[in-house]
Amino acid sequence: MKRISLALALAGTSAFLVAVFLTVTDIVLRSFSGMTVYGLTDIVTLCTMIGAMLAIPRGFAAEEHVAVDVFTARMPLRAQNVCALVAALLALIFLAAVAWFGFQQMMREYAYGDRSQSIGIPMIFYWLPLVTGMAVAALANLWLVVRYARAVFGK
């Protein structure tokens, strides 16, 4: 799961590089020729969605999301594992719910044919990274639930 989520994060973050180079190209073009990169705002927003959302599963798989361990660090190992199990279960439920309701909303917007404002990118392309990121993040937490359940309840 760590490898898959890392690969997904790296693929997604490459979209930021696209955003960087298009932004610089746009500034250079409009400074020297009066031309612009058509629909830059829409494209950069899409790149941000892709990069940020596809990176979220890695944060869970690597347990890098912000958490406070000042109290749990002093607990016995079994109690720490119970806390980690609860955390992963809650994350699994929340992320799966966001993915599910997001998927439903995405399909509604797809049916309506919603598009972005300036160059008309179908909104489904903005929804896909969010739904994918949340679904894979839920899977990452399912993996954590299994791992910590084994640690708490034995095999």
Partner: protein
């Protein structure tokens, strides 16, 4: 149970979940969903989970966050921090406590292109500690200066926390950046003053260095030029109206990549590491923003902010009194909560009060960022203290915590000045925008 009481119970539940190591974003999301269902019924679930995360994360203005993060990630790996430290070492290393002051100066300048306190502290620790230790600096002074200097990364613009504050409260990012300029410089000067006082009182803590002369000082200035150039291009471009803050972040990231390339440090491993850091930080920030958006819906529908505003009205406090009260609560919370989470959890409650009292939101933003910064170096949960302790072999957390105490005093002096003299924050934005 009344809606405001549900809001209070929700916040208590939130703190309970955070204390058992549930990720802050998930804790906010879960409490927001459960509280929202309790107050508004099941029909709110589809709206909250189906729309809020998307609306929050699909805004163009949010693109500024990953781009500034990427700029810092590449700048950290381009070897700019080492050049900066060496340059300041040559320029002010002969002062009383000169190396510690050079560390703080380098943190301030590096923070200006990095935007992250933790990255600034970790990067500068790798560069400064071996040199300061080798010369015989006391470990408390070394680690205290590094931990405190690292916090300058979020006060001196461009700062990611300022961007988040501005986006959440619908303020101008440009005005926020300008407002942080003087307080950031003031913070650096107060830290350097603290070093000088410590070095005067305890000369054995900070052995003096030989002065560097002539050509070497010019060479030192030249070493600083890439990082200063990047800062001036980004900030100058934003304030000259050549590009927006988001575009400025893109230019900054591009500049950091080019600088890394020019210095020959842009290999496959560096690119991969920088992208992984960008991914991790961006994911963490976006997940917290999503959690905040869900929690915010619950807090707003609980009407708890309205009740608090009314209650504060009955206390008869002045605007300054309210600000002091809020800051004291923030400083206490900052000892136990992650700084960014603390800001995001409390803003939906606190910002309506600030608006109701007619307090300038930009001034308030600078004060909040300042106390968030203090939270990074207050034990037991000052993240910078952990970063420094884990970056240096055989350095105990307690040593870092003891070393940072004098710098905390400097922080309190600065916050008092910022509260007493709002112009320190508002002069530049009012002058230039």
């Amino acid at each position: 149970m009344s809606a405001p009481l549900t809001g209070v119970v929700g916040l208590v539940a939130l703190l309970a979940l955070i204390s058992i190591r549930v990720p802050v974003a998930i804790a906010m999301g879960v409490v927001g969903v459960v509280g929202g269902i309790y107050i508004n019924g099941w029909f709110s679930l589809g709206f909250v989970l189906g729309s809020q995360p998307f609306v929050t994360s699909s805004s163009y203005s949010l693109s500024v966050i990953p781009l500034f993060v990427m700029m810092g990630a590449f700048a950290s790996r381009a070897g700019l921090s080492a050049s900066l430290y060496q340059a300041l070492h040559a320029l002010i290393g002969h002062w009383r406590g000169g190396l510690a002051s050079a560390t703080i100066g380098a943190c301030a300048l590096f923070g200006a292109v990095c935007g992250s306190s933790l990255a600034t502290a970790a990067t500068m620790a790798r560069v400064a500690v071996p040199e300061m230790t080798g010369i015989g600096y006391d470990r408390r002074l070394t680690s205290g200066a590094l931990a405190a200097g690292g916090t300058l990364g979020i006060l001196i613009p461009p700062s990611i926390i300022m961007v988040i504050f501005a986006l959440l409260t619908e303020q101008s990012i440009g005005r926020m950046f300008l407002a942080g300029m003087i307080p950031g410089v003031l913070a650096a000067l107060l830290y350097i003053t603290t070093v000088t006082i410590l070095a005067t009182l305890r000369p054995d803590w900070a052995p003096r260095m030989q002065r560097v002369h002539g050509e070497n000082r010019l060479a030192a200035l030249r070493m600083m030029s890439p990082i200063l150039g990047l800062f001036l291009v980004v900030m100058g471009g934003i304030y000259a109206g050549i590009f927006s803050p988001t575009e400025g972040a893109g230019v900054g990231a591009f500049g950091a990549i080019v600088l890394a390339g020019l210095r020959g440090s842009l290999n496959r491993q560096v690119i991969r590491d920088a992208l992984v850091e960008t991914a991790s930080t961006t994911a963490m920030l976006f997940m917290i923003l999503i959690g905040t958006s869900v929690l915010q819906f619950f807090i707003e529908t609980s009407t708890l902010p309205r009740v608090i505003v009314d209650w504060i009205g009955t206390l008869g406090l002045s605007a300054t009194g309210v600000i002091v009260l809020i800051l004291v609560i923030y400083i206490i919370l900052g000892c136990f909560l992650d700084s960014l989470s603390m800001m995001l959890i409390t803003l939906p409650l606190v910002f309506p009060i600030v608006q109701e009292m007619g307090i300038d939101p930009i001034w308030f933003g600078v004060l909040v960022v300042s106390v968030v910064e203090v939270g990074l170096i207050t034990p037991p949960l000052g993240m910078n203290l952990y970063v420094i302790a884990s970056s240096v072999p055989n350095l105990r957390f307690e040593t870092v915590a003891a070393g940072v105490v004098p710098f905390l005093l400097a922080d309190f002096v600065r916050i008092a000045l910022l509260v007493a003299i709002p112009a320190l924050s508002l002069f530049l934005p009012n002058l230039l925008m």
